[in-house]
Assembly symmetry: none
DNA sequence: AATGAATGAGTTTTCATTCAT
DNA sequence: TATGAATGAAAACTCATTCAT
């Protein structure tokens, strides 16, 4: 007869999600190096031993959390899927900037928080892969826009996608360092406009 | 009970620099969280005790290394001091890009490697301050350019300086994650051109 | 990476007591400053890590041990609770003297062994508080005796209690320094008699 | 040409005294466990290396300091050497009590501060020997008093000397723990009177 | 499946002692 | 004689991982 039932028997998938959510919470609050299994267990309202029933190691827990962030990023990218490419890009950029400025949600958990484990733990490669994955999705939008004529046909999709990404990254860094002066004064927005205006079709490239 | 004299007596200043160099080396190789005093001591070829003769704590060692990076950044910014502002900015951008692509020198040790110690250690604030310090220097160049007429007078120096910084940051991130495709294909250069061309005086601001 | 299971799983309370016992043993043998966690772990036959499962710090281990000593002292004070006050005091004094002379049991672990951690650790205050606590209990006996007429009504309970305590302290010091000549030849007993005879009611206060 | 002359060449004996004084100062301030050679060197205004020119080890420094305390105790005992024995004892007791209450001078550095190094360092035995030495001197006064008739001839000098010592010890302990209530309210004085009145010659032994 | 007590290697930091200068 | 840079063993404490229950 157990004195206290901490966690009811739960479907494995649910339990896993519960743990992943806990990892994200702890990482957001304390950063990766301080995301100890003890803290994760507490946040997940589960014993430390249970974590190891669902994950072979702390590293795997972090990777699972990274994947969750990727999905969040996908969700952001897939916002307003019926709009034209440029509109979509602008929308994505705007929301990202807002999230960064507000330090809110998963987006405010900068991806490279995961870089923090050091170059040799192998999380960095995972982060890079995550970025590449999101990047490809983004470029898909651009290529689609070119095909549909909503983006100038002479635009190099790689160039535009990376330009877009440049701003996202800078926002992430600024968010991570708490540089309100960068996030708050629309500097990133300005660069974003500059980059996207290059891609706008018709007439002069400047509006 | 000292058993063995490993390192010959050295002028304190030299030894300090030796240690700082070791810190940078270890951080570059393993990242901040894995930059243990044991590793630093080994890299500096001194005992762990010796480290504490020169620094009161591991944190101070890291801060000293951060300062060295800042000085490197200053040196980069002060390159070609007699040239006109735009030329200087272009030159700084070019060298930074090269260093990042080559993963060479101190510049290739991305500043925000130091962010990796986790939000609670207080290194992040130090990094942010370092960035602000370099930023101000950069803006000084711009303001000087405006005063001398080599930069358009209607340019907002903050906007331009942050725009410039945006690219540096993105390059740093890409370098840190080993994203050769970003660094090698001139994507950052392109954004840099876009930003700087806005600031060029005479004629139409866009080519 | 746990290699070996040294200690079988035990009810937490039992393990805690086991550790406290180990602390007392080590302190008695080596003194507080040399009561290292390594020694305590060895004495308790658990790993050092296990100690920190039950106590947040070495200091807390020492305080727990101090509390155990206080309880022992309480037990001594509460001996023969139905006897009259003077008889009780005499009995307490006698047993204390015996324990000190025999260097036996917890009583032989002088309280102020805990003072030895140095003035800055803050254990001294805890020791003082422990003494005050036992002192109050002792004074309670005396006040009770006065109320019941077994102690002269003109006796100042504080004076008598501190007088009693004076002898206990001296015995402790002598025990700690191994001064057999003091403990063995009844010198403390004599002072104790002197002090208690003052408190005896009726007739002449003793010749 | 040395940049800064810390300590002029000094007669060895003077330098030794300088160091011993530093040890006492540091022990009084920080206690034995915290009396590090670094602190001692600083207090003596001498390099750490120099300490080892005059003493083979930290332990010897502490023992030398203990000896200095013994001399201080001798000086206290030899106060008013021409007075009669009881007067001398009363005087000694009074000054000791004052010093303890005021936490002043070397006397306020309780001897058993030196016990703090732990039972196995061998300082305790040295402390005990110091006490015995002072004890013998004290008993000499008493024996002298008996011979001269200023102390009752039926008094056991050992008993009286130890009784006297009992109070000194208790005062030391109280001082060490900061028990103002004991030191300030004359409790120790009272016991002292009790003990000494036993030794007063003529008439009844005191009421 | 779930637990959490137990582990021990590893972390940062301290400090008595030595010895080349 | 005097120095203080250098040492390394040992201190307190942390934490990912295991496994008997």
């Amino acid at each position: 007869m157990p004195r206290q039932v901490r966690a009811r028997r739960l479907p494995p998938e649910v339990r896993r999600e519960q743990i992943v959510a806990a990892v994200l919470k702890v990482v957001a609050e304390h950063g990766v190096p301080e995301a100890t299994v003890a803290r994760i267990a507490q946040a997940a309202n589960v014993s430390e031993g249970t974590l190891y029933v669902y994950f072979p190691s702390r590293r795997e827990m972090l990777l699972a959390a990274l994947e969750a962030i990727l999905n969040e990023m996908y969700a952001l990218i897939d916002i307003e899927p019926e709009a034209d490419a440029l509109t979509r890009l602008r929308k994505i950029g705007k929301i990202h900037a807002q999230e960064m400025a507000a330090e809110r949600g998963l987006m405010a958990l900068p991806w490279f928080e995961f870089i923090a484990a050091g170059p040799q733990v192998g999380l960095r490669e995972a982060v890079a892969e995550t970025h590449r994955s999101a990047y490809r999705r983004l470029r898909g939008i651009i290529e689609d826009g070119i095909a549909k004529g909503t983006i100038r046909s002479d635009v190099d999709p790689d160039r535009l996608a990376w330009g877009f990404y440049t701003v996202l990254w800078a926002e992430n860094i600024a968010c991570m360092m708490g540089m309100k002066e960068y996030l708050g004064d629309g500097h990133a927005d300005h660069i974003m406009d500059l980059i996207l205006s290059e891609a706008a079709p018709r007439k002069r490239p400047e509006a």
